[in-house]
Subunit: 424 residues, 2 copies
């Protein structure tokens, strides 16, 4: 696919404005970082900081004459009208909530890049056929109310709002109550239907990984979202006195867990380094230096873009654990599973064409992380645009992307959205 | 060494009385166990429960006409006079405090077995040359105020009471304040000197391990206390997103810790199964399922009865860790070290002779756990007597020893103490 670049639109994209918007948003939930220009953000879903960020976005949108609205799970929409009001909107966006020690780019970049496109369209006086919308999805991170991606999940009709009503945060606050307070505090009418209506979707996001930087690429043309399988493993042995019980007579849960992890590392070794295999939580009880542990609990996070490979490797996990755990015992359960998502080829092609036309070096790659785009893709053709982030660091105060990369991604987004929405 | 058994003394040892005393003491700090006859005890040092236990013991002693006294760290002494009051006392005893989820035998058995010997001496009308004393050492467990074995450490002149004054429990209570309250609440004069005076020492204790039961032995003739080396290891890597960061580009602290532990298991493999090697605490940060860990902290507890072997193996630990930890980094520090303690051969021989004379099957063995006897042995000839405990379970509500084994151990103790104190 080749693309004639929309020169007037691209010329209207304002790097300084885009950077300043990031700084303004980062004030809501600002936390110290490793140095002054690497400060972080802690802005959990439906907190005062999240509400303030929503209000700020609504204020900017209203000032530019865009239409604002919400749906029943507080997904927030900003619409610039098209010439055919009956056309389903071409949507872009991402989320505004962060991890507890998050950065200034994860999520919010996709919202602000989209908003910059709306402003640039306005500044350039370009009319689109379909409406172009920016959406801020509710609770992508899931750090306060689990699970994450609630907003896009409900938008896509995979869950009802009511299904999450009784989810509570660690302080005991109900999701339904925090939602009602957020809806009431946001000056936008609750008029949008659920499931949602969307003609096409493109989401800009930092990569949250090191591949673009390592390759010297400035854009990631995202082909899909890799599949994921999560496990929880519990290993049970028996406590014993570290001084008195011979090693050979123990049922040491940590020693068995060690043998299990060795076996898991062996079966998941991937010379191509495509499989992501992570043990992120690993708890040992009772945790006393002179007591042989009787319990280990650990998690497995496996991801791969190819369904057959993921299924084959993940299906082997329980038997691998069972075979290695003697003299202890193990239980294994799957706590999360998603098949690889392949984005619409036409959207992927449009993103690649725009990137090529802009002369930006790029990688064609799957997304390692899950994103709201994975749910929206169930309703309409969808895709994503990645930009590099420093050293691949994300979910960390030190998260950083350069103003130039933010602008590059926004320019690719603008060209792609314009092609999808149609110029009058 | 052969022994003429003191028949009248042994006949006076009263199994029912001894068992009832255990039940009475277990009321102070009683906690539920896995079944009614396996209830546990939570009696931390200087708590109301510990004070009540001390008061109960003083009451029993006073009723029998024994002399009670304390020293400045609240070690509690019960003396039955000898015919030569100038002779240093022959001492037995152990501790009355327990682990938070402790049992009804660890420590208190040594105190009650000693008290049973005093009562049996009284009942049998036997006069000893040297005084015979029972001591209840303060804070052997160290669960509330760290470290443990404070009482015997101070008795042996290894530390001053003042050295522990500012130690605080998790509620912020100072050791010195809890000590003062305990001394005031215990009806026994604070007249004993520190360091203490002792002519010889024998301590009865449950094995807290499975060896006697496995061997069908009823008595452990304890030759010493194995040496110990504790380490704390910190491994530092870098967090990364579990979905986006290729495994080959990670500095995964858990993966490095796994390689380190493999290397440690290799170098500490002992075909004779004499070395005790335990990783009891193992903490992984940040502990999120989809974040590559950046930090692992773990402890090593190594013990061996032979000094040269322990030194050789323990000295190899830091280099073993450093060699295996790439691409992460590690720091290793020794947090505790004690050389193997070898008990006085004459005391060991006396215990063995008494056991043989009673016709009890026995093992000659080092103690796997540390005990107050390890400190008292610095002042005078000392030894220990072990009895089996069910399945080796200790520091656990389910801890159990049979009335017959309690009695067997007390009979060996009585014969040993009498031989050491001398019969008039």
């Amino acid at each position: 696919m080749s693309a004639a670049l929309p020169a007037t639109l691209l010329a209207s994209i304002n790097q300084d404005r885009l950077w300043q918007r990031h700084a303004d948003m980062a004030a809501h939930g600002a936390i110290p970082g490793p140095r002054p220009d690497r400060a972080g953000v802690n802005r959990a879903c439906f907190t005062a900081e999240d509400i303030a960020a929503r209000q700020m976005l609504v204020g900017w949108a209203t000032a530019r004459g865009f239409e604002v609205s919400q749906d029943a799970i507080a997904n927030l929409y900003i619409r610039r009208r098209g010439t055919e009001s009956s056309r389903a909107p071409i949507v872009t966006g991402s989320h505004m909530d962060t991890q507890p020690r998050g950065g200034r780019f994860d999520g919010i970049y996709g919202v602000l890049a989209g908003f910059e496109v709306l402003e640039a369209l306005e500044d350039a006086g370009i009319a689109t056929v379909a409406p172009v919308e920016v959406v801020a999805w509710t609770n992508e991170e899931g750090g306060r109310f689990a699970p994450g991606t609630m907003g896009s999940m409900v938008f896509a009709g995979q869950k009802s709002v009511e299904a999450f009503a009784e989810v509570r945060d660690t302080s005991g606050v109900r999701f339904a109550d925090a939602l009602a307070a957020t809806l009431a505090a946001t000056p936008a009418p609750i008029t949008r239907p659920l499931p949602g209506v969307v003609g096409g979707y493109v989401e800009a996001h930092i990569e949250q990984g090191p591949r673009l930087e390592a390759a010297g690429a400035r854009i990631g043309v995202v082909t899909g979202i890799q599949g994921m399988r999560w496990f929880e493993v519990d290993i049970t042995g028996e406590t014993a006195h570290a001084g008195t019980c011979p090693v050979g007579q123990r049922r040491d849960a940590l020693r068995s867990a060690h043998a299990v992890v060795s076996a898991l590392y062996d079966v998941t070794r991937d010379p191509e380094d495509t499989l992501r295999f992570t043990i992120g939580r690993f708890l040992v009880d009772p945790g006393s230096p002179n007591t042989v542990p009787n319990r280990v609990h650990f998690t497995i996070d496996m991801r791969h873009p190819d369904k057959a490979t993921l299924d084959r490797l993940a299906d082997a996990i329980p038997a691998t654990i069972t075979a290695a755990v003697a003299p202890c015992t193990a239980t294994v359960r799957v706590t999360n599973a998603s098949a690889p998502m392949v984005f619409d080829q036409q959207v992927v092609d449009r993103v690649e064409a725009a990137t090529k036309a802009l002369g930006l070096p790029y990688l064609v790659m799957p997304s390692g992380a899950g994103h709201d785009a994975g749910y929206v893709a169930r309703l309409a053709p969808a895709g994503m645009i990645f930009i590099p982030c420093e050293r691949g660091v994300s979910h960390n105060e030190a998260e950083f992307a350069t103003p130039q990369d933010l602008t590059n991604g926004t320019r690719v987004l603008a060209a792609t959205l314009l092609a999808m929405a149609g110029v009058v």
